[in-house]
């Protein structure tokens, strides 16, 4: 039972890997919320340069010894990245697309939450107003 639970837990909790470009991958995919962690866990080298394509050409996003970086607060759009190690040649380009949820969907969930919260407050207020029934009392609620 325990082993089965562990296997199920491990299956569900495996990080989502959406795309690969050589060693560059999306390790934590929150593209519909405007964030993603890009990682290169198996890349060989001492220092790494991660670049993003912009109108003016490739610009550095990260330059250092770490094997990952987290991007967040991204607008809708397609972003292209490439990685090079120890001033070598860049690898393949990794392309990711940020597409935020539509606001209509966001407000729908917000509305469900607000209504449910009001309902819970009402339930608790009405239910806790009356004293705790004594043992054996046949309360009518």
């Amino acid at each position: 039972m325990i082993i089965r639970t562990v296997i199920i837990l491990a299956y569900f909790l495996m990080p989502i890997s959406a795309a690969f470009a050589d060693d560059l991958m999306v390790a934590d995919n929150g593209l519909s919320a405007g964030y993603a962690t890009l990682a290169w866990p198996d890349a060989a080298g001492e220092t790494f340069l991660l670049e993003r394509e912009a109108d003016s050409g490739w610009t550095a996003v990260y330059d250092g010894p770490d094997h990952a970086t987290t991007l967040s607060g991204l607008h809708n759009g397609t972003y292209r990245f490439r990685l090079s190690a120890d001033d070598g040649m860049p690898g393949d380009v990794l392309e990711i697309t940020v597409a935020h949820h539509p606001l209509s969907r966001a407000w729908m969930f917000f509305g469900i939450g607000a209504v449910m919260f009001a309902g819970l407050l009402g339930l608790l207020a009405a239910g806790t107003r009356r004293p705790v029934p004594a043992s054996g009392e046949d309360a009518t609620r």
Partner: protein
């Protein structure tokens, strides 16, 4: 090895060693007069107001508050930070329920007791599965947070730091039971509050709101967007996740049983109010990362990385002490409460119905040790980020909110209905987790569960409140 570590490994080991000795000594000292099962599991059922507020608050200030709140601020922006603070609502809403639980089940032991007596065996077993899954998720997230924190600040390998924290917390919980947990929580609360206030003042003085705002505007503009869709969806999700965690978990029920009569309501209400600003302060620290040009390899490491970079050695030590205290105060509580649930609801409830008090006391020790070992084993592989791991369990716990609220306050609602609410709520929450995102799992789960439990109000009130008083002791502290 983390390249941004600012705390020498020697100092980190000295802090870990010092606090480990302190916690284990406090655990032994407080636990030396534990005579009965009530003493060990429920601190003699006479915890006073000061300790009650401290333990409720310290337990709710977890690694999730100090490390996942900044992660969510870093990923979801302003509403991520504010949404996390809505976790306080769970404590506030549980306050009246805690009073009711103490009065209706003066000799109860676990949340499982209530579900079994109120809804019957099928609902009880479903509830136990949910509760164990959640507890395991929480324990793993705490173990992981310990390893990540120590690695981020000192460069000590993740596995070493995680191992030390899990072992120390397991040991003092074994020695002292709930008394040790509550006693250490009191000290840890003071450390957390003082440390967080100092950190907030330092961040504002050294970076400043203008610099933080300008940098975010340039580098991460959507984090300032008050209409960021995912964070709007997250607001009530986190509220219901927190409510689900607290309403169902034996961590909070065991305290409701352990607090002296008349203490529970005010203790939970005050703890909620004191807790409310802490995620805001913790989240603010994450917003300084872009202004400081810090690389964040994993979003759950953002707070210790910023504190280390910003305040150097002193800041790193301060954060280390605060988060270490927050971790320990929660890890011990979950270990103790989950062990109670296993002892009473599984061991005695299913396998050893005639177990004596002495046998249960001994079983509790072995179960705590086993839980500690299982936590360690599942924390080693670092299966997910803290945020995604934590919110995965939201799909489970939020399904219990309505069955518990309705069951505690009304005579309506059958076991079949409560079972259906928990199963369908969890299933739909999991679907939402994978189909939409972690930020709606608890919300969807609670909504579906509510729709099912609404059917309770179409039936007649049939439950007899006197049944709940069946959770009383025989001569030696066992449940009848």
């Amino acid at each position: 090895m983390n390249e941004d570590a600012v705390l020498p490994a020697g100092i980190a080991w000295a802090i870990i060693g010092g606090f480990s000795i302190l916690w284990i000594w406090v655990g032994w000292w407080l636990g030396r007069k534990n005579d009965t099962l009530d003493d060990y599991m429920l601190a003699g059922r006479k915890v006073g107001m000061g300790f009650a507020v401290a333990t409720a608050m310290a337990t709710w200030v977890t690694s999730n508050t100090t490390m996942t709140a900044p992660q969510l601020a870093y990923q979801l922006g302003i509403w991520g930070m504010v949404g996390y603070s809505l976790g306080a609502v769970g404590l506030l809403l549980f306050a009246p329920l805690a009073r009711r639980i103490r009065e209706m089940m003066p000799e109860g032991y676990t949340s499982g007791d209530f579900i079994r007596l109120r809804y019957g065996n099928t609902a009880w077993r479903v509830f136990l599965v949910i509760s164990f899954f959640y507890s395991l998720g929480w324990l793993i997230s705490l173990g992981m947070a310990g390893g990540l924190l120590i690695n981020a600040l000192s460069g000590i390998p993740y596995a070493y730091g995680m191992t030390v924290i899990v072992v120390v917390c397991t040991l003092y919980t074994v020695f002292g039971g709930l008394k040790a947990v509550i006693g250490t929580d009191f000290v840890q609360t003071i450390l957390i509050l003082v440390g967080v206030i100092i950190l907030a003042v330092l961040v504002i003085n050294q970076v400043g709101f203008d610099a933080i705002h300008d940098s975010m505007q340039a580098k991460r503009p959507e984090l300032l967007n008050l209409l960021l869709p995912a964070s709007i969806m997250f607001l009530f999700n986190n509220l219901f996740f927190g409510v689900g965690e607290i309403f169902h978990s034996n961590v909070w029920w065991s305290r409701a049983f352990a607090f002296a009569p008349g203490v529970g309501f005010r203790a939970y209400a005050l703890a909620g109010l004191f807790w409310l600003p802490i995620p805001i302060v913790a989240g603010l620290i994450a917003f300084a990362a872009p202004a400081l040009g810090i690389n964040v390899p994993s979003p759950d490491m953002v707070a210790p990385l910023v504190a280390g970079k910003l305040f150097g050695l002193t800041g790193a030590i301060l954060v280390f002490v605060v988060v270490f205290a927050a971790l320990a105060s929660s890890l011990d509580s979950v270990l103790a409460a989950t062990s109670d649930l296993i002892v009473k609801d599984l061991y005695k409830g299913h396998f050893r119905k005639d177990a004596s008090q002495a046998e249960l006391r001994k079983a509790a020790v072995w179960i705590i040790l086993g839980l500690g070992a299982l936590t360690w084993a599942l924390s080693v592989p670092k299966m997910a980020t803290l945020g995604s791991l934590l919110h995965f369990t939201g799909a489970f716990v939020a399904s219990t909110i309505w069955p518990i609220a309705v069951g505690l306050l009304y005579r309506r609602g059958s076991g079949a209905l409560a079972t259906a609410a928990m199963v369908l709520g969890t299933a739909s929450g999991l679907y939402a987790y994978f189909a939409i995102g972690f930020y709606v799992a608890a919300l969807v789960s609670a909504a579906v569960s509510m729709l099912v439990m609404l059917l309770a109000f179409t039936g007649e009130p049939t439950f007899d409140w006197a049944t709940l008083r069946g959770a009383r002791q025989k001569g030696h502290g066992e449940n009848s």
